[in-house]
Amino acid sequence: MENIIEIMNVRKIYRTYQKKSGLKNIIKNIIYPDFKDFIAVDDMSFFIRKGDIVGYIGPNGAGKSTTIKMLTGILMPNSGMIKVFGKDPLEYRKENSKHIGVVFGQKSQLWWDIPAIESLELLKGIYKVPDCDFKDRVEKYADMLQVKEFLNLPVRQMSLGQRMKCDLIAALIHDPSILFLDEPTIGLDVATKDRLREFILELNRTKKVTVFLTTHDMQDVEKLCNRVILINHGRMLYDGDLESVKEKYIRYRNLKVVFNKTYSIDELKFLKDFQDLRIQNLDDKTMLIQYNYKLYSVTDIVSCLLKNTEVADFSIKDLEIEDVIKEVC
């Protein structure tokens, strides 16, 4: 299958102004400003095939959004080569933008004070979408995302979930081949997240839209992505499928236990038979037990705890992106 995105040895450096505090530094800050170089993306290379759904994951400040900004032709890399549709996205920004859709979880492209449908109509004009296509797409996507009745509402009166769904429709109004999603599920409830994920999967299945997704939600990655690229400090740590990264690097799962009374870690000595177990106090009555799920099952630990302590509640915590990265590092 053809490569729709290619990036080779890309590096992006931000120059940031370091302001020194204190009265004596007021003049110094103006005359001799101190700048510091910060490497946001370093020696990044990967390619993405048409129809892929790629999860581009990493902790805050890892360089995810910077990569999206370079891929969309907004930022110029300091070195390296980027090709989107076989062209330099910076040079061909205007042309490439007709074929890409972008959703930023924290930046809406809809106008705040006017109904969403009017923003969509403006985009229709800018992207030169024929009237019949526009009508079909709005109707179809609004139906799928269940926002038909909200399209005439000013954006300021919408909930975050409704706004995000409308933003997704706005990004798809010109029928793009690539969809860049920068933390699209941030702050959304479980039901809305599920609907968005189903919608993205449907879009990928029916229209072969390539999806490049950044997220902090492991559920997004598990339910959507057939490939993950893991980055930290601007560098790539892993590129492959999610199962392999888990298989290869993840040995632990988190078991959160709430007791009826306060226990010290020493009082849980009976768990010493379980090898490779980490116990951490979260508060008076809550403990986090990290266990190696490859060596034993959670039921073994829970039954041992129920036998020896007064357990009020327990839950298995989802794997966080940060945990995955910690393990990979």
């Binding site: 931000y14 805050n60 400040g61 995810k64 959004s65 900004k69 969309t72 907004i74 930022l75 110029m76 920004r93 205007k94 042309e95 933008s97 007709k98 890409i100 972008v102 930023f104 924290q106 930046k107 809406s108 492209q109 106008w111 004070d113 006017i114 109904p115 009017e118 923003s119 109509e121 403006l122 229709k124 004009g125 800018i126 992207y127 000013p154």
Partner: protein, 261 residues
């Protein structure tokens, strides 16, 4: 392009009238300013009419009233540069840059739509009501004024666009805005007609583009200007500023910073 302009017009109309009380208060503010300036000029005329040379009270009031009404259409204090500054600060400028249309074209269509909407809902009604209220004789050069006002709008947009591009480098326009707004207010003849200024100051102002935004078009409006000369200077200034804008965009587009993750 026509379809986009229509969509922008609709969007700007909805935005400007989204908050009904704010819209009403803006209209009230225009009338208060018109009334205050009209009273000021009427008092000065009563004191010493010779100060105004060959400009009679009727022309003076037409100049002043239309200047205030027109500035509400041009909204030079809240132009595309303010929109760009806000969007650069909150990082939303990326949404504009990702559209298959040059940023300048988007800003131009947005500003043009906002000016047309303001013209219809503020400028024309406030001017007509005020001329009736002060019983003014509408002895004006509509054609000449129309041509030079359109060129004045293009000239103002060219200046605002350069300020927008400066914002990409400075990330904040506060200091620049103080200077720019002072220059527009005092060198364009929008507040005080330039014939009151001393010769040495006029000598400087004549070398600047600001007077071609308000002063010269308003002079033509009250049948006192020179159409050919004004149009020539306006076109020259628009050409020079457009070249500067084009050169700046080439430099700026490689140094764009989008704030926030």
């Amino acid at each position: 392009m026509y379809r986009v302009l229509c969509a922008y017009l609709k969007q700007q109309y909805s935005s400007l009238t989204a908050y009904k009380s704010a819209f009403c208060m803006t209209l009230v503010n225009v009338f208060i300013r018109i009334y205050a300036y009209a009273m000021l000029w009427m008092t000065l005329y009563k004191q010493n009419a010779s100060l105004f040379g060959n400009i009679d009270l009727n022309q003076m009031l037409l100049y002043s009233i239309f200047s205030i009404s027109l500035s509400q259409a041009f909204t030079w204090w809240d132009g595309p540069h303010i929109y760009v500054e806000e969007n650069i600060k909150n990082g939303r400028i990326i949404c504009d840059l990702l559209k298959p249309m040059e940023l300048k074209t988007q800003l131009f269509l947005r500003t043009l739509s906002s000016t047309v909407v303001n013209l219809c809902i503020f400028t024309i009604p406030s001017f007509l009501i005020s001329t009736c209220f002060f019983k003014l004789e509408l002895n004006v050069n509509i054609i000449g004024a129309l041509i030079t006002f359109v060129l004045g709008f293009l000239l103002l947009f060219s200046m605002n666009y350069i300020l927008s591009l400066i914002c990409f480098l400075s990330l904040d326009l506060e200091g620049y805005l103080y200077i720019f707004h002072a220059l527009i207010a005092f060198c364009s003849g929008q507040v005080v007609p330039l014939w009151f200024y001393p010769d040495f100051l006029l000598g400087i102002i004549n070398w600047l583009p600001f007077k071609y935004v308000f002063y010269e078009p308003l002079l033509l409006f009250i049948r006192n200007g020179n159409l050919c000369q004004t149009v020539c200077f306006q076109v020259i200034w628009i050409f020079i500023l457009s070249l500067i804008g084009r050169f700046m965009w080439k430099c700026v587009s490689k140094k764009i910073v989008v704030q926030g993750g």
